[in-house]
Point group: C2
Chain length 222, copies 2
C-alpha cells in the first residue's frame, strides 16, 4: 500500500491532470496544492515514476499511469464516501467534512469502506455534488455547466459546488445553494460581473461571476 503522502500526491495529480486541457500536471501547481516546495514535489515525482505510478520526463509534464490513476481513483472514492457518511450518518456540517475526510481516507480499509458504501445505499454523488467512483474505478459524471454561464430568467437545478473551503461552503449553505435545489437567475449584469440568484425557499443573493463559476447547474435547462 502507498503511504499517506503518496496517496495525497496521487489524488492531487488526478484532479490536476483531469482539469488540464493537455492532460498533464505541472510541478509548481502540484506543489502549491499540496503545500510543499517545488523541490519536494520534484523528488516525490521521481519516486512515483520509479514506482510506475506516473510518467514524467525531465522538464516535461506529469501524467498518471494506469496503475497510478487506479490508485488515485480509489483514494478519491474513499474521500467522497467518507464525506457522504460524515454528513448523512454522523450529521456533521458539509463545510467541515472535507478536512475530516482528508485524514480518514488513508485509514479506512476496503472492508470498512465497503460497509460504509452499503450503509449509505451506494451513493453516486458526495455532499458537494461530486461524483463518487464505483468499486471498479468508473465515474458517472453528470453533465453540467457553470452557473456563471446562465442568463437572466434561467431556471435550473444546482448539481455541484466546486470549492472545498469551509468559508465558501458555509456561505453557500446559508443561501440554500446546495446540490439538488431549484435555482432562478433573477438578474444578470455583465458590466458589474454579477448575477442575482435565488435558491427555492431562500432569499435572493448577488454573486460575482467568479463565485458563480464555482457552482455547477444542470446542463440542458433553459
Amino acid at each position: 500500500m502507498a503511504t499517506e503522502t503518496v496517496e495525497n500526491y496521487l489524488k492531487a495529480l488526478l484532479t490536476l491532470c483531469d482539469e488540464s486541457p493537455t492532460g498533464e500536471a505541472g510541478l509548481v501547481r502540484l506543489a502549491a496544492v499540496l503545500g510543499v516546495t517545488k523541490g519536494t514535489a520534484t523528488s516525490m515525482i521521481k519516486r512515483l515514476a520509479e514506482g510506475k505510478l506516473v510518467k514524467a520526463e525531465r522538464y516535461g509534464g506529469i501524467t498518471l499511469t494506469g496503475k497510478g490513476r487506479r490508485a488515485a481513483t480509489d483514494v478519491l472514492r474513499r474521500h467522497r464516501l467518507l464525506e457522504t457518511f460524515l454528513v448523512r450518518t454522523l450529521k456533521l456540517d458539509w463545510s467541515t467534512v472535507h478536512a475530516e475526510a482528508e485524514r480518514l481516507e488513508h485509514a479506512v480499509s476496503p472492508l470498512v469502506i465497503d460497509a460504509i458504501d452499503a450503509l449509505l445505499g451506494h451513493p453516486s454523488v458526495d455532499p458537494h455534488g461530486d461524483p463518487i467512483p464505483d468499486k471498479s474505478g468508473q465515474t458517472r459524471a453528470a453533465s453540467s455547466r457553470p452557473l456563471s454561464a446562465c442568463a437572466m430568467g434561467d431556471k435550473t437545478r444546482l448539481v455541484r459546488v466546486a470549492d472545498q473551503e469551509g468559508a465558501f461552503l458555509g456561505f453557500a449553505a446559508r443561501h440554500g445553494l446546495m446540490p439538488g435545489v431549484r435555482l432562478t437567475v433573477l438578474d444578470a449584469d455583465p458590466q458589474a460581473q454579477s448575477m442575482l440568484v435565488q435558491a427555492q425557499g431562500h432569499d435572493p443573493v448577488w454573486l460575482a461571476t467568479a463565485a458563480a463559476g464555482k457552482i455547477a447547474v444542470e446542463a440542458g435547462s433553459d
Copy 2:
C-alpha cells in the same frame, strides 16, 4: 498533536503500567508489544520524557505523567468507541475490528469521535467488554474475576474477553462466549487444568485454564 507513533507508544504504556503491580512499564515488554527493537523503544522513551509525557530514569522503570496518561486515555477512548461503532453501525465482525480501530484511532478528530459517541448513545463498554473512558478521561471499571477462578457448578455472566487476537475472538464467538451471555461451569478438572463451560443457547466447550483466564465473569456470583 502527537504523531501516530507517539499515540501508539502512549496507549501501550497505559496498558502496561496498569497491568504491572509496580505501576511501571519495562522497555523489553514495551518493544515487544509495539513490534520494534528495544533500541528503538529506548530512543522513543527518551523523546517522550523530553515532552513530559513519561517519567523514566536511566535503567529505571517507565511511568506516564499526568499529561501522558491523559493523552493515552484519549487514544484508548477513541479506540474503543471506534470498535463499538464498527460492530454496531457498520456490522463488522468483532474479531476484525481491533485492527481497524488501531489505524482509525489516529485519524478521527474530536468532532467525529463526539458524533460517534452520540450516535451510539454514549456506550460504557466496547464489543469485547472493555470499559470506554468518558470524555473527561474517567473509566468506570466493572469489577470481575477470571473464569478460570470459577468452580464446577458456578453460574455467572461473561463480562469481558481480554484478547484482541482475531483467532481467539472467532473461537469465542462460535461458542457464544461474548459479553453479556449467561455462563455455566459444567465441569472443572484441576488435574487436566481444564473446565467445561456452556454459554446459554450454545453447546458446552472444554477450555484450558490459560484460555479461561482470558475470559472475565461477574465478580459477585456463586
